[in-house]
């Protein structure tokens, strides 16, 4: 075991897979010699060569499109889109091609592409460096969507993603690359070395895609969250002194429905939290699923705490970002209801 932050854990996952599987290649902007703008590929080109860690032109459609072709020709590409906010030029290739290639060819062709991309706010990135577009991709049939909340999960899930024969959109919440963040920007940053999930095996391991994890057991209310919000929700439950059961979904699609149902049937209450905007957001799917599966266990309406339905702001970031106090207020409200 060694202490790693999320960047190092992600780097380690790719390093191991480049060593284990000659068909693994990385492609993305600034990932090669420079090592990536967030340093996730630092040193990998030097170690594994320019033909395996490939600097790409600024063309997300070309990165995804060429990764599909590489996948069809037997490689296992890991494409980096520098910010999730820049993934849209690649969306035709993701939505119309990558997600549906296996289906449209009845399994004859597929492309085992992993697309890594940093997402989410809290870094003063404004509307072009802070978005959380996961709901666009969970709406697709044929891709899996993963978002880890800590270094240990990030490494195990990224290795599993690279080995998976299905396409994976792997979102990396960049606010927690260097340490868990409870939503309070005025507190000094906490490093991962102080967190149990900052203990990461140096060697190969995988975590199963499609499994949620209860990160805090509780009896009063179930909180469904992922990414940075896992830490915000834990802080909120502590702050409000509420016995909340917090579930880190980890894989957004396919969803671990049994884990959710088991918890909500126990607590009878549910709050859904994400950074992404609210209307037609991923939280709506979670709320609908809970309502369909657990209606007779519910003692109160399901509440959502999300980003507001505006573009991501720069100056008003902390009014937009779902903070500890907003989540705590929702937890208190859902306990007062009915």
């Amino acid at each position: 075991m060694s202490r790693m932050n999320m960047v190092q854990a992600i780097n380690s996952a790719m390093d191991i897979m480049l060593s284990r599987d000659p068909n693994v290649v990385l492609i993305g902007q600034d990932i090669g010699y420079f090592g990536g703008v967030f340093r996730c590929t630092d040193g990998l080109q030097r170690k594994h060569g320019e033909h395996r860690v490939i600097d790409a032109p600024i063309a997300e459609g070309g990165i995804v499109g060429s990764a599909i072709g590489m996948g069809v020709n037997g490689l296992r590409p890991v494409a980096e889109i520098q910010f999730a906010d820049y993934i849209y030029p690649g969306c035709d290739q993701i939505i119309s091609e990558l997600a549906r290639l296996r289906y449209r060819t009845a399994g004859d062709f597929f492309a085992p592409v992993t697309i890594r991309t940093p997402c989410g706010g809290g870094i003063r990135g404004g509307q072009t460096h802070s978005q959380s577009p996961e709901g666009i991709f969970t709406h697709l049939c044929g891709v899996k969507v993963v978002m880890p909340s800590n270094p240990y999960d990030a490494k195990g899930l990224l290795i599993a993603s690279i080995e998976d024969d299905d396409p994976i959109i792997f979102f990396e919440p960049k606010r927690i690359y260097n340490g868990p963040f409870d939503g309070d920007p005025h507190k000094s940053a906490t490093p991962w070395s102080t967190h149990p999930k900052g203990e990461v095996p140096s060697d190969y391991y995988t975590l199963p895609i499609g499994r949620a994890e209860i990160v805090r057991a509780g009896e009063e209310v179930t909180v469904l969250c992922y990414g940075t919000m896992v830490h915000v929700c834990q802080a909120a439950a502590d702050h409000a002194e509420i016995d909340a059961e917090i579930i880190d979904l980890r894989t957004l699609s396919p969803l671990d429905v049994p884990a959710i149902v088991q918890s909500v049937e126990k607590t009878g209450r549910c709050v859904v939290v994400h950074e992404a905007t609210r209307f037609s957001g991923y939280g709506a799917e979670l709320a609908a699923t809970v309502q369909e599966e657990c209606f007779y266990s519910l003692e109160a309406p399901i509440l959502r705490v999300t980003g507001w339905d505006t573009p991501y702001p720069h100056a008003f970031e902390w009014d937009y970002f779902p903070t500890k106090s907003r989540v705590a207020a929702a937890l208190e409200k859902v306990l007062e209801m009915a």
Binding site: G69, V72, L75, D92, D108, F109, L255
Partner: protein, 417 residues
């Protein structure tokens, strides 16, 4: 007097009721353009490759000039036969669509050489990324027509298991990729495939086709950039058949320079070739394949041709172009031109040609009978509808298992229930 910009709207030369006017298509005599060594650096290539046009067969059917691939008789007859097979297959499938046996079809009449000659100039292990109008690739690579027909019928032997509309074939074993209705997506995919071949140190090349209309898509730019940057072993074809449904090639940007001219801006050689000249298409494809296979890099080929029939069975070209325009195309018909070439040298005759057509026609009809024995849209055997949920993922996730159960509970609307 002040001058102001005025928005330019490209207009086709002739609308219905007018006489066809192909004065915008420059006439270039066969054999005029020199053939450079395929390893020549792009800076040293002549602009004649772009501004003029590579041709081999002259008006008399004589092969002339440096691009003559000097194919033997067996290859020429193979090419002729497969162009005819493509055409008769198309004709048959159009009739079947008109009779309601299939939902949709797209013919390639006039463009058979574009596909058949290119397939013949490449190795069987080279990977082809087709558009929807190069069915000749499949046929020249020896695909059973029954397989293509079953796909169009969405029947029990459909290689797509009923998941794609007609003509969206693929052929894993024959190294032909899946066709997408989203245009030009295959361009960067072909480049990526070629990059992978180079990464692995293999000498297979990729070849990819789009129409001139869809060269306007962003994926064209992505593919050209990546092909150039990584010197990918890929052959990038633009089939300029003058029309994107009703929109003539000027609206895709073809008024100013040939589409082949888009290559050099990216650092990729462009070659314009007479797409109705079987020998020229073969020769240019072989040139580009040699360039790619030796590591020199990609080539952009513009194949000048004419879409003789409707875009698809949902289209009516008499609403936007003169009815007799196909006959006026200055570069003729690819099947007739290769036939004339063979006859000119005493290797072929009208009667042998008629016999071949009859033979292929019988073959097409027999294959159709076999195909429909595997089912049609209205008559069984049908595909198992459980297949609807297969292959979304490598392993079926729980929510799809549940949805499949739900579907099976509500099958009362299906015919026969």
């Amino acid at each position: 007097m002040t001058r102001k910009p005025r928005l330019h709207i490209p207009l086709p030369p002739a609308r219905p009721g007018a006489d066809p006017d192909f004065s915008y298509v420059e006439r270039v005599a066969a054999g005029e353009v020199a053939r450079p060594d395929p390893h020549t650096r792009i800076r040293e290539l002549s602009n004649d490759l772009i501004w003029r046009m590579v041709g081999v067969l002259d008006d008399e059917g004589v092969a002339t000039g440096p691009w003559d691939p000097q194919l033997d008789l067996e290859h020429l007859i193979f090419g002729l036969r497969h162009m005819i097979e493509t055409r008769l297959y198309d004709d048959h499938m159009l009739r079947m669509q008109r009779q309601g046996k299939i939902s949709f079809y797209m013919k390639s009449r006039g463009e058979e050489a574009v596909a058949v000659a290119a397939a013949m100039a490449l190795k069987p292990s080279d990977m082809l990324f087709p558009s929807y109008r190069v069915q000749g690739l499949q046929i020249a690579r020896g695909r059973n027509l029954v397989d293509l027909m079953c796909q169009c019928l969405s029947n029990s032997k459909d290689m797509c298991k009923g998941r794609q509309m007609p003509v969206m074939y693929h052929w894993k074993r024959g190294n032909i990729f899946s066709i997408s209705g989203n245009l030009t997506t295959q361009y960067p995919q072909a480049v990526g495939w070629a990059m992978a071949a180079a990464i692995k140190g293999e000498d297979d090349v990729a070849a990819v086709w789009i129409g001139e209309g869809s060269s306007a898509e962003a994926d064209f730019h992505h593919a050209m950039t990546f092909a150039s940057v990584y010197r990918a072993p890929v052959i990038l074809n633009i089939v300029n058949n003058q029309y994107a449904i009703s929109t003539f090639q000027g609206t895709a940007g073809g008024e100013h320079l040939p589409f082949a001219a888009r290559g050099p801006g990216y650092g990729i050689p462009g070659i314009r070739v007479d797409g109705n000249d079987f020998l020229a298409v073969y020769a240019v494809t072989a040139w580009a394949a040699e360039r790619a296979r030796s590591g020199t890099g990609a080539t952009l080929i513009e194949l000048l041709t004419y879409r003789m029939d409707a875009h698809s069975t949902s289209d009516d070209p008499s609403r936007y172009r003169p009815k007799n325009e196909p006959e006026a195309w200055p570069y003729g018909d690819p099947v007739e031109r290769l036939k004339r070439h063979l006859i000119k040298f005493g290797q072929w005759s009208e009667s042998r040609h008629s016999t071949l057509i009859e033979e292929v026609q019988k073959q097409v009809e027999a294959e159709w009978q076999q195909a429909v024995s595997y089912g049609t849209m209205t008559e069984g055997p049908f595909l198992d509808k459980n297949e609807l949920f297969e292959d979304v993922y490598a392993d079926m996730p729980n929510h799809l298992i549940l949805q499949r159960q739900q579907m099976l509970e509500y099958d009362d609307l299906r015919e026969g229930h």
